[in-house]
Symmetry: C2
Subunit: 596 residues, 2 copies
């Protein structure tokens, strides 16, 4: 069975040293989020996930969810773990206090989420989706709906899910056919079929709250005619207790590559009783609240899988002896040296490490901006933070999940043949991680969101906080007198320059031909993410250089060395991406469709 | 169920137009391999694989192999298909006529193998491993063993497998513990446990011939004391009929990520009766004959999976309507346009296509060299061809299997959520393809073989045929007056220049520090492969430019366009690889092992 130890030291480094924890604690509402409290919660969450969730991860994969006669049973042990998860208060960590939550910073929630995803990604989807549903209800639903549903969802008695996709449409939600007929009492009757509904049906909570995109009969065509409805699995009595079953039935569950512990359901709504959330025909904006939260959550799935794959690869590489160091035996008393002596194994481990720790920093950076975008008093600070979150959401979702798959695959590779065998658990990480590049908007869609929406939006103002911050940092550090910092600075400056050039090029080309931006999108997102990660690595190296002479020389030297590895061996990808992008869309678009 | 049509037009293009089929037909022994015969065999093989093997591919994945009481049952339908495969003569296609084979060019065999791997990779391993075993027996075994075993194996009555890996050693075969005690009659008693033995036990043939690496009691330590033994599952009577069971028992089969249709066995040898193949203690060189054949075969698995993933992605992208073209609806009469209008989908399809068709050309190029290395009359021609095969074997194995996984993953991505669902079959390609990067020497080991063995071997002479050929081609084509050829030439020349620089750098650094080559190896192999593929694409574009005005403008224009896509959007990776390599080994080797 895979091992895992929550990376507490690194989480604390990022939370307290890389960024200033005081900034968060000083935001109105976060007064109680002292460093000690944050540390204590991380430690407890680590223990809980290591002890309760990790042992269920392979069980969930092997046993899967069972479907019989409309009912879905979660894998053995999942319900008990779900109950314990809520009893320990993890579900309400960042939820609003007025509905029973603890109201702690989302940044802390994000760090806990990483740990959950490392230990049991399929399990984590149940509370994760509930949290996204809560956020949409909180922001858009009537007070009555909020009071009826949020406390139960936050305490974990009820769960929540999103119902968007239909058999003929996923990305293009304008094609939705599920219909919503108004009833006399202001409620609606929802009829239609939804597919790929994660956690759409299960036996872990007494009720499941479906947030369903549907179309009213008089609605405008396309996405401008989509509304959002709250459709409970079980109707709710006036006293808040669960009443009769609503007309919401699970028709089947999918057999899929991974995340077997989470049910992926076909949901049939047959005149189900539902309630409008937000404004009629304006369901897409409410949906995007859920979706953006979900996208950052999916990014964390990539991060979580990266971390656990890395830890296991390191552990195996240390234990497994095979071959000799090229510079002479390091363990002459044994029949062979450990895998860690081999440069190519180190290349894999360091690649895994550089992406994982870099993404952890990125995740916390964006989480802090999310907290600031909501809780900061200064409107300018809120606005800048919101722009950064808007810009980085597709970047985090896409890059962190691409890394999740790449790192999980490297983990398998380090294990060699054993990586391919189910009992070691490494191949499960690959299968689980794979969905994260697809759902909540494929990574290609994220790239289009970045290039086609986030970049041009508000006359390009979303870009400013990021570009200004990196630019100011480089300008300041160019005068840094520490030699080891200089080569890192040069390396990031080169890649940042490429990003600036390409950003300008896309903006210019895109005005002439919208397909130029779309053709560049995926490569551009990666280029962007690499620069963002480079920025994180430089800031980490910067601190490490100051602190390595202190109490923890190994920890800080490793930060510095990983930063060097990242800048020397991974960041040069930006050059290839720039060349590819600037060769233009013609090689794609002129290709004769009939010749594919 | 996935679709598949054997890419006959492209195979014929490569065989007859890109290369000169006459060269092969003029080799002694290949007189009968007329273009018509080759075409006919490819067509028949296409039909057979489409009709018999493809329908069993998902069955094999879902039903898997069953293990009970030492016996393994192949998935339903596999035995009948196996019998039909042999009855139709596919097993003996390239086998020597003196033992019942048809003695056709290996190049033809390679092309048929691609088709088999596309339609049912797990099935293809049974005859594929038999073929590798035959080759080692043919080259190293005594006449008696050859006469006893080869005819039955070539006609398909018996199968053959390799038994190398043990629980504590895979890559480092010097650690092998399986022992071989000499009997008085010149035979040996083999005792030990082998793991990960593909097709080690099954119910499809009346006998299974195990080629087993083991150590005689007086053997030198390490790999210089390993010998190769032929150990039949069933002893063979003097009349060639099958006798009693030998002491070879399957102890278990593995549960693994993919290739469920092929049994992966733990094999226990308990004083099993075996026969020495080749010279005592010189088993590794015999093993490498099997292994090199197997490595090229594994490369073809990557190629085969790429092709079938590409075909299905294209088919889905044409059928699935979602969103609108950014330049206005292309199918205004429908609710949306097909996926093929979207630049990012085209990026994925063209990436898949460029790697797949490029690798097909590469595969045939190397197969031709293999034929020449054996059948050519001129010793210089044989020697050059042998050098090319030696050099390109790790490149093909590694790069083609990396592409196999990448292309299969892109196929899943084109399908979106449906790609993750088992019934569509796309995720199976990812799971099946994944093993090819691991077995028969991980791709990291291939890279070390290239940098540490093939490059320095014979004072670097292995490199010459490749570098001379590409160099001569570029020098000639620099004067090409066709504009469309010029930009391709510049692009390849730039990348070839990088390859030359890096090759020199590695040779120089490696003399000072052996870890430099090892640290560079994986990136170098990829750089090498991209240049080789670029060379293939230029030669294909060259021909296409001449022929596109003729009868098949769509086919040839697509070749030219794919070449442009490859050179503009994929070949620039060589720059990033060069930077990474030339940053040296220090970032890997100086990292503190305790800090991982």
């Amino acid at each position: 069975m895979p091992i895992y130890n929550a990376p507490l030291r690194d989480l604390k480094f990022v939370y307290n040293e890389l960024f200033d924890a005081d900034d968060l604690q000083q935001l109105p509402g976060f007064e109680e989020a002292t460093p000690d409290l944050v540390d204590a919660i991380l430690e407890e969450a680590g223990k809980f996930c290591e002890n309760e969730l990790l042992p269920l991860n392979q069980v969930g994969d092997q046993e899967g969810c069972q479907f019989e006669d409309g009912k879905v049973t979660a894998p053995p042990g999942f319900k008990a773990a779900y109950d314990a998860f809520h009893e320990n208060g993890y579900a309400g960590l960042i939820a609003p206090p007025e509905y029973g939550g603890q109201g702690l910073p989302k940044t802390l929630g994000f760090m806990v989420q990483e740990i959950i995803c490392s230990t049991n990604m399929a399990f984590g989807m149940y509370p994760g989706l509930t949290e996204g549903a809560c956020r949409a209800i909180e922001e858009f639903a009537s007070d009555e709906l909020k009071e009826t549903y949020l406390p139960k969802m936050i305490e974990g008695t009820w769960s929540g899910v999103m119902c968007l996709t239909e058999p003929h449409c996923g990305t293009d939600l304008g094609l939705i056919r599920t219909k919503a007929d108004a009833n006399d009492d202001g409620s609606y009757s929802i009829t239609g079929t939804k597919i790929f509904i994660s956690a759409g049906e299960h036996d872990m909570t007494e009720n499941i709250v479906h947030l369903v995109l549907a179309r009213a009969p008089d609605a405008p065509e396309g996405i401008k005619g989509i509304s959002l409805f709250l459709v409970p699995k079980m109707s709710v009595n006036d006293d808040g207790s669960v009443g009769d079953a609503n007309n919401v039935v699970c028709g089947a569950i999918e057999h899929k590559m991974g995340i077997h512990g989470n049910s992926t359901c076909v949901m049939n709504f047959d005149g189900a009783h539902g309630f409008l959330v937000g404004t009629l025909h304006k369901g897409m904006s409410a949906m995007f609240v859920m979706m953006n939260a979900a996208r950052l959550g999916v990014g964390m799935q990539g991060l979580g899988i990266s971390e656990v794959a890395y830890q296991n690869a390191v552990s195996y590489a240390r234990d497994r002896i095979q071959g000799r160091s090229l510079k002479g035996a390091t363990q002459p008393e044994k029949a062979a040296d450990p895998l860690t002596v081999h440069p190519d194994v180190r290349r894999m481990l360091l690649t895994m490490r550089a992406y994982t720790e870099g993404n952890r920093a990125l995740n916390v950076w964006v989480a802090r901006a999310l907290d600031m975008s909501i809780n900061a008093e200064d409107p300018k600070q809120r606005e800048d933070a919101e722009a950064l979150v808007a810009l980085m959401t597709p970047v985090c979702k896409s890059f962190m999940t691409d890394c999740g798959s790449d790192v999980a695959n490297m983990g398998v590779q380090v294990f060699g043949g054993h990586g391919y065998i189910a009992e070691w658990g490494m191949e499960q990480f690959v299968r689980d991680a794979r969905i994260a590049q697809i759902y909540e908007g494929t990574n290609g869609i994220q790239a289009l969101d970045l290039v086609g929406r986030k970049m041009p939006e508000k006359m390009g103002r979303n870009l400013r906080p990021f570009f200004h911050e990196v630019s100011a940092y480089l300008e300041e550090k160019v005068h840094d007198e520490r030699d080891e910092m200089q080569s890192l600075i040069m390396s990031l400056a080169k890649s940042f320059g490429r990003l600036q050039i390409v950003t300008g090029w896309i903006a210019q080309q895109g005005m002439k031909n919208p397909e130029e931006g779309a053709a560049a999108a995926t490569d551009y997102l990666r280029l962007f993410a690499l620069v963002a990660l480079g920025y994180m690595w430089l800031r980490m190296a910067d601190i490490a250089l100051d602190k390595r002479a202190g109490d923890e020389p190994v920890f800080y030297q490793a930060k510095l060395d990983t930063a060097r590895f990242f800048c020397n061996r991974l960041l040069p990808q930006t050059g290839a991406l720039m060349s590819a992008i600037m060769s233009g869309s013609d090689t794609m678009m002129s290709f004769n469709e009939a010749a594919f």
